[in-house]
């Protein structure tokens, strides 16, 4: 690369540095690495197994990642503010039991039960955010405690019983509609829509810019007039509501309310966020990256299972990829300085 092709830009932060070209900007984009990894994985599995490269299979992969994907959107918001949420899977499980039990036992009409589930999960998020910001406490500890609280409430309220015979509206998102030769699950569309919505909100609204500013430096954000308290609690609450939507997607996917669900989803959602190039130090990353991250996990699981490779190797590969992703993040941060 030579700098002669582009005139030196006046906005270059340091004199003497080459101005960033489009290609260079692309290469330092946090999502480029994950996208390349995803494409390579797709190429590899397309060659390795006949059943991978079909519309039906891609629809299947999206359907398999919609629950963790939706959790991971909320997780991304929180990690962008330099927080972390260990309680997301447990909060989702509690939400799903609330929705399933209320509707199945006829205490509430199905739509009201769903609304209550969203409110309950949002409430957990608001409580997390309030404890993190107002006392203040480290997010890791607050959400670790909340994980136990939500897990216990799930098992107490469900009496360890799987809730069956759910009314139709609860599983509606698990139904499919044909698109050409492929069946698409409605829930997949919900997840994709949520990713697009949050991607837009983060990149193109004042709120989104404030979230990044808060993650980069809470002090600077405060001095610039951002109401950090309201913003933090808002982010955790929004994440909670997203967990509630994930709870509904979970019910629609499995057709039951399962108190044992989601036990590893907190770590799986963090895995997706990290694989997608979002930095755990906050202020850097994107929800579209997370979507790529969640697809990487889904593609590996689906592809390896189609190849007939034992599940444990998927875990192994995921672990290696996470460490690689964090390494890339660190190196690119050093380069960015």
């Amino acid at each position: 690369m030579t700098a002669t092709s582009t005139p030196p830009s006046t906005s270059a932060p340091y004199a003497g540095l080459k101005a960033p070209t489009t290609a260079r900007r692309l290469l330092t984009q946090p999502t480029t690495g994950p996208l390349v990894a995803l494409l390579l994985a797709c190429v590899f599995f397309s060659v390795s197994t006949d059943q991978f490269l079909t519309g039906g299979n891609f629809s299947l992969i999206v359907q398999q990642v919609m629950v963790v994907g939706t959790l991971a959107i909320g997780q991304t918001l929180i990690i962008l503010t330099a927080g972390i949420d260990l309680s997301c899977g447990a909060v989702m499980a509690f939400g799903s039991i609330v929705i399933a039990k209320m509707a199945a036992e006829g205490s509430l009409p199905p739509l009201a039960a769903i609304a209550l589930g969203l409110v309950v999960c949002g409430g957990f998020g608001m409580l997390n955010g309030t404890l993190v910001k107002k006392i203040p406490l480290p997010p890791f500890i607050v959400t670790l405690g909340m994980l136990n609280v939500a897990f216990a409430l799930t098992h107490i309220y469900s009496e360890e019983q799987t809730v069956t015979n759910l009314p139709g509206p609860l599983t509606a998102l698990g139904q499919t509609f044909p698109l050409g030769k492929t069946d698409i699950t409605y829930g997949s569309l919900v997840t994709i829509a949520l990713f697009l919505l949050l991607a837009y909100a983060l990149s193109s609204t004042g709120w989104g810019r404030h979230v990044y500013a808060l993650g980069n430096s809470p002090e600077a954000a405060r001095l610039n007039g951002i109401r950090t308290s309201r913003l933090t609690i808002g982010v955790y609450t929004a994440a909670g509501v997203l967990y509630g939507i994930a709870a509904l997607l979970l019910i629609s996917r499995t057709g039951v309310g399962d108190p044992q669900a989601g036990q590893t989803d907190n770590l799986d959602s963090i895995t997706a966020v990290v694989l997608g190039g979002t930095s755990l130090f906050g202020g850097r990353g994107s929800v579209l990256g997370t979507f790529i991250g969640v697809l990487i996990v889904g593609v590996f699981r689906n592809g390896l299972q189609l190849m007939g490779v034992a599940s444990i190797y998927q875990t192994l590969i995921t672990g290696v990829l996470v460490i690689l992703a964090v390494t890339v993040d660190q190196i690119s941060r050093r380069k960015a300085r």
Binding site: S48, G56, Q263, R301, Q305, A310
Partner: protein
């Protein structure tokens, strides 16, 4: 802007390289195998989905299925949940196996009720679904069930314990599995039936998750609550060995009778060593082998296996009691799993 074209072309190059690498890998890999697909004729695929892939019981089941698949010349695919109770992981595995065109799926359901909708979807696509070890709820959700009669396994050790107590007043502790899990409930109820008592007569009942350290904690607490305990029913041998450790710490290991279910090799050895009085041995290899055979039959002539097949249970003890049929630990160690 012309610079932007550099990236896609390098991407393409990388992709092409990967393609070549993948081809090379698959070419090299076809001989070695990853240990989870047995090379068969490849036209018939059988899927095996276990609760986890770390529990020795399921490891053994997988081995049985692999052996059987090799003998029948079919391809075996395996998958498992991430933890005991991971229903979503099992649903995903069913979907992927159906997508890869399996003829039949053998599954040990992590959640008997929650897995049913996914099984029904697979059956609708013409896949034979057989439950191994654990029944679904309802049992009719699968085409067939190959499993131990857990009620009978419990009854055997209940009858044995009653005979061994020789009319002494029994103070019973029950170290159970977890609430609402059918396997645990059936063994527990079988034990009570065999002993001729009800839940009212159990001095202390605790959940252990079938885990040795939790079994130890549960036994310690039971002894705290009721020091006179002299009969301990345990859900499996890890829980039994945990109970033994707790009893030994109190110097009670000689005068308390521990009975269990499973018949794993470690557990059977513990029976031989006198730590556990008796155990009901079950046969996971047989479940898997029968399951694979059933899928092969279905692939060959379209005949679906149906109903419940009891894969058998044997009481293993070196201190046989009159009127209770049993085999000694030599037999037990020959036929144990794990």
């Amino acid at each position: 802007m012309s610079r932007t074209s550099r990236l896609p072309s390098s991407l393409l190059r990388a992709a092409a390289c990967t393609g070549v690498a993948a081809l090379a890998l698959t070419a090299c890999g076809s001989g070695s195998g990853s240990g989870s697909t047995s090379s068969g004729s490849g036209d018939v695929k059988v899927g095996l989905i276990t609760k986890t892939d770390t529990n020795p019981f399921f490891v053994k089941m997988k081995e049985g299925a692999e052996k059987s698949a090799k003998a029948e010349g079919v391809t075996l695919m395996t998958a498992a949940g991430k933890f005991d109770g991971d229903n979503a992981g099992q649903v995903t595995a069913i979907e992927n196996m159906v997508a890869s065109g399996v003829k039949g799926i053998l599954i040990t359901p992590s959640d008997s009720k929650a897995i049913v909708p996914a099984i029904e979807k697979a059956k609708a696509k013409g896949v034979l679904v057989i439950a191994l070890d654990t029944p679904t709820e309802p049992q009719s959700a699968v085409d067939a069930l190959f499993a131990t009669d857990n009620l009978k396994a419990g009854e055997l050790i209940g009858e044995y314990a009653k005979a061994a107590m020789k009319g002494k007043t029994a103070k019973i502790a029950a170290l159970d599995l977890a609430p609402g899990v059918s396997v645990g409930v059936q063994r527990h109820n079988g034990f009570l039936k065999g002993f001729g008592v009800t839940d009212k007569d159990v001095a202390c009942a605790q959940d252990t998750g079938g885990d040795q350290s939790k079994g130890q904690t549960a036994m310690e607490n039971c002894l705290q609550k009721e020091p006179g305990i002299n009969v301990v029913y345990t859900i499996n041998e890890p829980a039994a060995l945990g109970a033994y450790t707790a009893l030994k710490a109190k110097g009670r290991e000689k005068d308390v009778l521990i009975v269990s279910v499973d018949g794993g090799c470690t557990g059977t050895q513990a029976v031989k060593d006198g730590k556990i009085a008796a155990t009901s041995q079950q046969y996971p290899l047989k479940m898997a082998a029968e399951g694979v055979k059933a899928v092969v039959t279905y692939a060959k002539d379209g005949k679906k296996a149906s109903g419940y097949t009891d894969t058998g249970v044997t009481l293993i003890t070196d201190k046989a009691q009159d009127g209770v049929a049993a085999k000694d630990t030599a037999y037990g160690l020959e036929n144990c799993w794990g």
